[in-house]
Amino acid sequence: MAVSVARPMTNSLTTGRLPRGSVWMILVGSWILLGIVFLLVQMAGGTKQYNLVGALFLGTVLFDILVFTIAYLVEGGRQARDRLATSLIATAFIIALLPLISLIYTVLLNGFARMVQPSFFTESMRNVLDAGGGAVHAIVGTLEITGLATVFSVPIGLLTSIYLVEYGKGQLARTITFLVDVMTGIPSIVAGLFAYAFFVLLTGNVGYRSGLGGAVALSVLMIPVVVRSSEEMLKLVPNELREASYALGVPKWLTVLKIVLPTSAAGITTGIMLSIARVIGETAPLLIVSGLTASMNYNLFDGRIMTVPVFVYTQYANQGAHQSDFVNRAWAAALTLILIVMLLNLIARIIARIFSPKLGR
């Protein structure tokens, strides 16, 4: 009786472990510590403005060291390494988020005010040297070129994926699969050079620029994406559906058209929307083969035509006398572009969510 009273209370499950929540306290503690250090540095005149990113970063580094040391002393080497790995992996995730947050924040901050001015969506840049003007010529150009590229790539991409899934076997199918992989890796600027070289040989005009060329270049980038995503979707269609159709005497082409395609339509549409979202932000090929202009040119087959990404680039690269006006327009167009891409992504996800077939499982 007396012996058991003399022994201190110990819990064998928690001895040799850091108390719950202590890791978080160390994290917050090291952030506060470094925050104070940087505050002192700032008050001493070392930096012009408060360095929040530096404080958070160095605080996280200090946290990694502290956690490793404390865990090493309390829990031993293996647990310490485990905790170090956990904190480093979480740090990597936070580092990956920083540029995204910074980018969205700055684009919103710098672009929103200019974008909501009505002139941005109603005027072109013709004869504009200062604050006025807008990007309507670029927005229409982007929609036209991307639309034409979609018209080119969707039939080719879809039929190719049908060939690969329903018909293809042997050497030709293997070659096409390989080449689609190769096409996926074509740098966008090379696609632009190809379209330019193609039309120069066709027309003999060395200064060739047109929206059609831009659409061809974008198609080269878009076709492999459409093929890949449609192929995945067609493969998901259960074979039972095809066999049931054959058993009813339906010819193969009607089976594909009436059974396979409707079943996978939602997925294919999603893939097409995502591929549009991918090429709509392409700048380099359009810069080369569609050129740039300040005026409204909506004829795809004749002359230079402006697009939103090229608009962003030229507003930044060719700043006039009133620099801030040009940079503001660049930010506004960047915001417009991001919003278009986000919208396309959102539509794609909604289509996938609502219309995807409910396979009985």
């Binding site: 485990d82 049908i162 070659t175 890796g185």
Partner: protein, 313 residues
């Protein structure tokens, strides 16, 4: 009608079947044609530059290879630094999503990283030059002052922050989503039994990852890196906007004399180029195409080999 007694029933060939299957084959073959056309047109337009006489090329280069060599170096150099930055981060992010984050959060976190892939490259360029370059320049000065004895950080530090290191950081951010996505997929495919066996033997979570997940995922990590490298090599506008280029070959990270990349050089020179200059740029594009082709082929090879043995598990 009764003469055929061989017992083989041949299906009647329908017109619709003929038309449909032929049109799919035509579409598939069109891809062959397009790719062949890309190669042929680029080669045809490149030949004048490759055989050009000394003194006719831009930058006073004696021949095409002397012209393109600094650009090849710059392309590979910037992409390599970008990979050095992005490989550990993407592995970390992929592990965080696949093995550390709570199940319910994991998918949402994956979407957030995919958001980065939705940002067009020209916006990354704008952000890189107007935000990142300015913000990071004091850090470059500090790095140069304290670690200038390391050759990489030596030289005269750039006053604008438009250096090859800034470019590499922007490129690293841009290739992060694709690398993370591939790594994540492979890590999630690790056989559950391997992981549970490691944990049952008393391994901590990190030891389980080191002994079960990482060895299994190594081919995936390699192919992810190669895909990221392919993207980084071909990236144009972000580099063109952020870098302050020069015709040099050096390993300094922080100076304003940076080797340019092929893609960025094309974007910057093309609008003003004429005559043999255009041919030279197209020829350099062909070189870029060959480099990315090799890198992507290695990536595909690694992925396909991986597929072959994952079926056995």
């Amino acid at each position: 009608m009764t003469t055929e007694t061989t017992g083989v029933i041949k299906a009647r060939v329908r017109l619709g079947d003929r038309v449909f299957s032929t049109s799919t084959i035509v579409a598939g073959s069109l891809i062959l044609v397009v790719l062949a056309a890309v190669a042929v047109f680029l080669v045809v337009q490149s030949i004048p530059a490759i055989v050009a006489k000394p003194g006719t090329l831009p930058n006073a280069a004696p021949n095409f290879w002397a012209y393109v060599w600094p650009l090849v170096f710059g392309t590979v150099w910037a992409a390599a630094i970008a990979l050095v930055i992005s490989i550990p981060i993407s592995i970390g992010v992929a592990l965080f999503i696949s093995h550390y984050a709570p199940r319910r959060l994991a998918q949402g976190l994956g979407y957030i990283i995919d958001l980065l892939a939705a940002v067009p490259s020209v916006v990354f360029g704008l952000w890189g030059v107007l935000v990142l370059a300015r913000a990071i320049q004091p850090f470059f000065v500090w790095l140069n002052a304290n670690f200038g004895w390391i050759p990489l950080f030596g030289g005269t530090v750039s006053g604008t922050g438009k250096t090859v290191l800034t470019v590499a950081i922007v490129l690293a951010v841009m290739v992060l989503p694709i690398m993370t996505a591939v790594c994540r997929e492979v890590f999630l495919q690790t056989p559950r039994l391997h992981e549970e066996a490691a944990l049952a033997l008393g391994a901590t979570r990190w030891e389980m990852i080191r002994t079960a997940v990482l060895p299994f995922g190594r081919p995936g990590i390699i192919s992810a890196s190669m895909l990221g490298l392919g993207r980084a090599l071909g990236e144009t506008l972000a580099v063109a906007m952020v870098l302050s280029p020069a015709v040099v070959i050096n390993f300094f990270l922080l100076t304003s004399q940076n080797p340019n990349t092929i893609a960025s050089n094309i974007a910057l020179q093309f609008p003003e180029a004429s005559g043999i200059g255009i041919n030279t740029l197209i020829a350099s594009g062909l070189v870029l195409f060959v480099i990315t082709f090799i890198v992507n082929a290695i990536a595909r090879f690694a992925i396909n080999r991986r597929k072959a043995f994952s079926g056995a598990n």
